[in-house]
């Protein structure tokens, strides 16, 4: 199924760079969360010195906690939230988009007009609206970012589904009395994995960006937790004296999103090439 696509994409140099960059940050986040205190000798909430002081490799933050420890501990939540929001968005969007594209008629109209409404509120603003009412809860971040991805994924899924169901092999399946759910899963889905994989990558890049942005705004992951977005916000007043508290997390987020975007772009190139070869 999509195995061929991944293999194709990974043959590209750009994908290898992207995978390396992403791999480094993921490894850092996972290993950092597990073994961070063994490396630096501090727990994320321990005080290691005076505030904004050059104590330790990367100094201390505004309340005197070790920046390196908090940096090592601060990536895992971001990754987890990003992945969960992406999964919700892509699954929901793909299902709705395929259904709309295949069924047509009023259901298509309803789903697509519904997404028009959601699309008219920028994703971050939508998240802020929800947070204003319910408060900055972890599950809410995941849910609201996932839900706002869905209409964007649905548009792509619908468009590609419409392209596929115009093909005669779908009519052939109908001719053999294949039930609708089976047609969608066995005939349509394998033929739209390319665009969906591209969406998956794109949405992951954006999810990470949104979770980090919300934390940066002070409305995502809450203190005293260690988190990259939050760290940037907490430490930026001392950018001139102790830049590491800002620079390290900024670099990590940048490398991570650039990495996932490079992989996504390779997937898109591979999918496009596969389509031309098959025709």
């Amino acid at each position: 199924m999509s195995g061929g696509l991944l293999r194709r994409a990974l043959g590209l140099r750009q994908a290898k760079i992207g995978l390396t960059l992403t791999g480094i940050v993921v490894l850092l986040a996972v290993a950092g969360a597990l073994f961070g205190n063994m490396i630096t000798g501090y727990q994320p909430d321990d005080f290691s010195g005076k505030p904004f002081h050059a104590n330790g490799m990367a100094g201390t933050d505004g309340v005197g906690r070790d920046v390196l420890t908090r940096f090592l501990d601060g990536g895992l939540d971001l990754l987890g939230y990003g992945l969960a929001a992406t999964a919700i968005g892509v699954l929901l969007g793909a299902a709705l988009g395929m259904l709309a594209g295949y069924t047509g008629g009023w259901l298509d109209g309803l789903i697509m007009r519904g997404s028009d409404v959601l699309l008219s509120i920028p994703q971050l603003v939508f998240a802020l609206l929800a947070i204003a009412m319910i408060g900055p809860k972890g599950w809410l971040l995941i849910l609201v970012i996932g839900i706002t991805h869905a209409p964007r994924v649905a548009r792509v899924a619908r468009q590609t589904t419409v392209g596929v169901i115009g093909q005669d092999y779908i009519k052939a399946a109908q001719l053999y009395g294949m039930p609708r759910r089976r047609i969608l899963l066995r005939e349509v889905l394998p033929n739209i994995t390319g665009p969906l994989m591209v969406e998956l990558g794109l949405r992951l890049t954006y999810s990470i960006g949104y979770v980090a942005s919300l934390s940066f705004l002070g409305l995502g992951i809450q203190p005293p937790a260690a988190d990259w977005g939050l760290m940037i916000n907490e430490n930026r007043i001392a950018l001139v004296v102790q830049p590491w508290g800002v620079v390290l997390p900024v670099l990590a987020i940048a490398v991570l999103t650039v990495g996932t975007n490079l992989i996504t772009d390779s997937l898109a190139a591979a999918a496009a090439r596969r389509t031309t070869e098959e025709s």
């Binding site: 005669d168 052939a172 109908q174 053999y176 009395g177 394998p190 033929n191 098959e278």
Partner: protein
Amino acid sequence: MTALDVTDLHVSTVDDTPVLRGVSYSIEPGEILALVGESGSGKTTAGLAALGHFRTGLKAVSGSVLASSCGGAPSDVLALPEKQRRALRGRVISYIPQDPALSLNHSLRIGKQIAEVLEVHGYPGSVEDRVRETLTEVGLPSDTEYQRRYPHQLSGGQQQRVGIAMAFAWKPSVVVLDEPTTGLDVTTQALILETVAKLAAEQDTAALYITHDLAVVAQIAHRVAVMYSGEIVESGAARQVLHEPQHSYTRALMAAVPGIEGPVGRSEAEEPDEDVVLRAERIEVSYADTKVLRGVDLAVRRGESVLLLGESGSGKTTLSRSLCGLIEKCTGTVTLDGNPLSASARKRSCEQLRDVQYVFQSPFSSLNPRRTIAESVEVPLRQLTDLDKDQRRKRVAEVLEQVRLDPEYADRLPGGLSGGQRQRAAIARALVTTPKVLVCDEVTSALDVSVQATILELLGELRTELGMSILFVTHNIALARHVADRIAVLREGLIVEQGTVDRVLDAPEHEYTRELLANTPKL
């Protein structure tokens, strides 16, 4: 003096796979040379090279293309600097594309598109007058109101005339025509061919006519060059090449062309009610305000092959799909062995679905690119029968053998097969449930002529072997004697004439059938 002289032209892809391997041809003023070849033979590349144009991914390796404007010295199009090459294009050498719908600029009025080619090369006379003149020459209205139309406001035939007007506006010495009538119906095609022949003769233009259709060649060309995998394998006077082909490839190609004369049809008595398998009565289908089918009656007898003839827009595909339950909104009755069939495949029983099977026009679209051939062929068995896995696998192998498809292709994806092989697989899928009636919708129109011949042969053999009935839907009347016992002619949603092949071809009763026969090019 020769108008166009191409010598030993080599073209390859940018990664050095040869596309043209030493192509040479020349055309005299006023002469029409047909460049004939099947898909992938390199004929379009050879034609575009005359204008010094190579599509993305291709490059010229060696050779020369000498073009002479009337009275001027010949110049090598390939060796010229870009600016001078551009000055030749559209003025000395012009091009008429295959699909005017894609090649005309949809945001520019047609008058402007013709005037443009005159303006950029500095036409000495009045551009306005010349645009009017060329429009008249190609048989279009020339008034300002017509010139202000956009391409989408014209029919396909009219769009192609605009293309011809642009090409002949400068009275060029060479014009390259790339399959200019593909996609047009035979009546429009005849008019276009007539216009091109007339203009080339009047303006003393040398024409390179690229086509895959040998019957068209017989009608228009003075000389023929036959291309096969990047080489010209045979060339000479049209009559000689078509009637006494020397090269084995040309001979095979000529043998594969279905002639309207063909073998004499199996004449059977015209008794419509004798042992009918599939009967359609008062079939009507409308989309929005247009009635596509307006009360069609059609009967197919056991073991018989019926040719359903219709041009594009006649409703032939809608009719064939209605019979199979793919058009839910069709009204009227369809009966199989006297039992009524639902208009929706979803509501038909498994047995009914097994008994009426359908082969689609394009094997490039009818097979799921993510399933292996064996998996695709197995689908009907899985959905419509109770066979277990082993039995299904056995039956798939059996039917692949029946359609003469090598078992090694069974586990490949469609992408790894040629068009002809894919169509065999699609036929295998339709046969796997041993249907009583097989509906074949333009099953050869996406294929090259030599492949078409093998598919037609296969269908004939299968019919004898299996004793099934075939409804063969096509726009090509020349296929009739090769595949059918009877013909039904569909026009604008109505059957205008029915009868045995011999009767309809030899003594057509309806005006429309007579017109079709007259306009179909013959070898």
